[in-house]
Amino acid sequence: MYPEEERLPMRPALFAVFALSLLTATGAALTPARAAVEINVNRGVLQPLPIAIPSMQGADSRASQLGDEVSKVVSADLERSGFFKPLSPDSFIQRGLNVDDTPNYNDWKTINAQALVNGRVTVEADGRLRVDFRLWDTFAEKQILGLQFISTGEDWRRIAHKVSDAVYKALTGQDGYFDTRIVFVSESGPRKSKVKRLGIMDQDGANPSYLTEGNYLVMTPRFSPNGRQITYMALRADSARVYLLDLETNRQESLGTFQGMVFAPRFSPDGSKVALSVDRGGNTDIYVMDLRSRSSTRVTSDAAIDTSPSFSPDGRQLVFNSDRGGSPQLYVMNTDGSNVHRISFGQGRYTTPVWSPKGDYIAFTRQAGGGFHIGVMKPDGSDERSLTDSYLDESPAWAPNGRVLIFSRETGHGSGPRLFTVDISGQNLRAAPYNLPATDPTWSPLLK
């Protein structure tokens, strides 16, 4: 029923540091221009923009090889977003374009490459890696972007994702989400006695590794706003506790000394608090804990189940899940517990609300018609859209730009859960680049 477990390494240290500077322009356009070629991300149907991403050049064979790899990663990032259609390098007319030269625009217009990303990779004497690249609007015949990235080590994949983020932002007007990581729960073993471990990978599936050993069950990891910590729930035979895990030191600590079962943790947008659920005597309520003082405030005191709290980006409100009306539905309240109001009124049972980092939408799971659906609605409950439909879709998590959702899907009982991504338009539904059983994804912010 389950594929053989792929043995992931325990995670090594991470976080190289990057410098970024504007490239001096070539003879063509001297300043980064606003793109004439532009992607309207609010359009009804995604029409991917044809873009040419030739292999970046390098002064020697090592640099050339890295240049080739960097371009491939950029190409894959942009393609997966659904907004871009990278053209086959076989179709390119102009070859060997130097990053310091102006492109032969007609050669790119001929193959309908509306944008062009070219660059150069340099391995410095001290081992640092430098990438210079330019983004061109071939039809307007001007440079849109010219940037240089330097990594302290040879972390070329992160540089490639930085290039992707810069191109995505220049052409869509929205922040990218490529230099990010995803933490999830990796599942292995038989259904009745699953082993669950926290796993981490780059958003494109590279560098997967484990964060926990699997000697207890783990659930619902969530990134801190600075990307350095995870809060998650650990379930043992006789206890349910929430932990803080530091990704840089791999140290972890139990959060608080609540009586009862503690679960459903989620950071506040400023990282100073964690909202969570505590079950005491069969009654689950929401608490907010201040991480500095470790004092907690009870926010709900209803006899119903109140769980899955998620902060608004301004930190003033919480959306949560409650069955106080007879079935699980979504409610919004102020973080002091006042002004509780229901926002879900469609057919079915609504759970797992998550406020978008942009604030414009709340993602959720809706159970209706015998299936499970990931959906979004405005925080006032309007403009509800159902994005997916399967046997068991759940636990949506936002990419940091609030444009893409990652969630877990089981296509049928026993098929084993997998991670999927979908654009908030409901288009571009794809299997995430991790083809092993996994649930409970959480997306990091853009790395620094």
Binding site: R191, K192, M219, L235, D238, T351, E394, G414, T439
Partner: protein, 192 residues
């Protein structure tokens, strides 16, 4: 007619094998094999000594004619019932669960040294956090019932396993119904 003899010696052999298999258990050595039913010549209603427990891994030996040791986990599971079931998205004790919990309460009254943990479970047709809370309610509902029937609350802890530990890994409605349960696990104090 010699047919009475063979079963007797056969039964004795079985008991001996069972004793050998559980030689570590002190109960074994001191217990005589139960008298064959045919030699019903002792005092009226003198109960036979408790039979030895069946060996844990070989339940084809000895378990057909010998019940679990009174006060043991198996005794609790067999003679009281260690699990009750719930309706979909519900946590109220069902009519068919009440007699089981009554027996659990009686059994726990008989063995006051026993401590239990009520483990609430939910089926997979719900999201993780909600089902965790739902299964916690089920565990608490069982605890409340037992306390209402005389079990000291200090003897009972509760935990939710949400939908993480299904009893039945099938996908049918019958399997889902089995997975909506609360299991009463003995954590200490059981004999045997």
């Amino acid at each position: 007619m010699t047919k009475g003899n063979l079963p007797v010696s056969s039964n004795t052999l079985k008991i001996l094998v069972a004793c050998a298999a559980v030689a570590a258990l002190s109960a074994c050595a001191s217990h005589k094999p139960p008298e064959p039913a045919a030699t019903n010549s002792g005092p009226a209603y003198m109960p036979p000594p408790p039979p030895p427990p069946p060996p844990p891994m070989h339940d084809d030996i000895g378990s057909r004619q010998t019940g679990p040791i009174p006060g043991s986990m198996q005794d609790f599971a067999v003679n009281a019932g260690d699990r009750v079931y719930f309706d979909y998205d519900q946590y109220s004790v069902r009519g068919d669960a009440a007699p089981v919990l009554d027996k659990q309460a009686q059994w726990l009254g008989r063995y006051p040294q026993v401590q239990v943990r009520i483990e609430g479970n939910a089926d997979e047709r719900g999201t993780r956090e909600y089902n965790f809370a739902l299964a916690a309610r089920r565990a608490e509902a069982v605890k409340s019932y037992l306390v209402g029937h005389g079990v000291q609350p200090g003897r009972i802890t509760t935990i939710s396993y949400g939908k993480e530990r299904p009893l039945d890994d099938g996908g049918s409605e019958a399997a889902m119904a089995k997975n909506r349960n609360a299991h009463t696990a003995i954590t200490s104090g059981a004999g045997g």
